[in-house]
């Protein structure tokens, strides 16, 4: 049973462009919606997260947009940089556990 669907699987963006990654979920009991970032050879690390009572959260170049009725949330990376090249996971939370999406491999070309 796939509770979380993430798209696209991979993404290539030019430096300075906007990267957009989407996450759709089924479980309405999720109560926190984070994105994790993973560089090669490292474990994932929390990038940004949003509570379900907020529709948007911005931290620097990173923004989460949350649509509760559509059961979707997305990560926007503005002015994408080569250093943003990594794998990104949505990982909504329930009961102390995170449910990870399939991952999106982002490559930002100089």
């Amino acid at each position: 049973q796939q509770q979380v669907k993430q798209s696209p699987q991979s993404l290539i963006v030019q430096k300075g462009g906007i990267s957009i990654i989407n996450c759709a979920y089924e479980n309405t009991a999720f109560d926190y919606f984070p994105w994790y970032q993973q560089f090669p050879g490292k474990g994932p690390a929390l990038l940004i997260a949003i509570r379900p009572d907020v529709s948007e959260k911005k931290e620097g170049r990173f923004t989460i947009s949350f649509n509760k009725s559509a059961k979707q949330f997305s990560l926007h990376i503005m002015d994408s940089q080569p250093g943003d090249s990594a794998t990104y996971f949505c990982a909504p939370h329930q009961g102390g556990k995170l449910i990870f999406g399939q991952g999106t491999e982002l490559s930002v070309k100089p």
């Binding site: 993430q6 109560d31 926190y32 050879g41 490292k42 474990g43 997260a49 102390g96 556990k97 990870f100």
Partner: protein, 116 residues
């Protein structure tokens, strides 16, 4: 600085061997987790523990067991390794929070296990 360490970065084992993966955290976190990461499948939860000697099955516990004798240490055991257990194994820890978030999990660097 927050730290989760895993005993090995790379491990090669033979089919049928018993394999131990160790994880230690220095943040006094109550929760600890073991995941496996495979391309296109994301991270899948194998087991988690919210207290010493307590454990709960995750989504894919078959073929694995765990041990948590001390708060800072969580071990994953492959009783009889098989080739389909070749994967990246990630350990994580977090605070025990009942509400409000952020429910952040801190991950170790992973162990790349190859079973031949």
């Amino acid at each position: 600085d927050v730290k989760v360490t895993q005993s090995s970065r790379y491990l090669v084992k033979r089919t049928g061997e018993k394999v131990f993966l160790e994880c230690v955290q220095d943040m006094d976190h109550e929760n600890m987790f073991w995941y496996r990461q495979d391309p296109g499948l994301g991270l899948r939860l194998i087991y988690f523990s919210y207290d010493v000697k307590m454990k709960e099955k995750g989504d894919i516990p078959e073929g694995y067991s765990v041990s948590r004798e001390k708060k800072e240490r969580f071990s994953l055991i492959l009783e009889s390794a098989s080739t389909n257990q070749t994967s990246m194994y990630l350990c994580a820890s977090s605070l025990l929070k009942t509400s409000g978030g952020p429910y952040e999990q801190y991950f170790g660097p992973g162990t790349r296990l190859t079973v031949t």
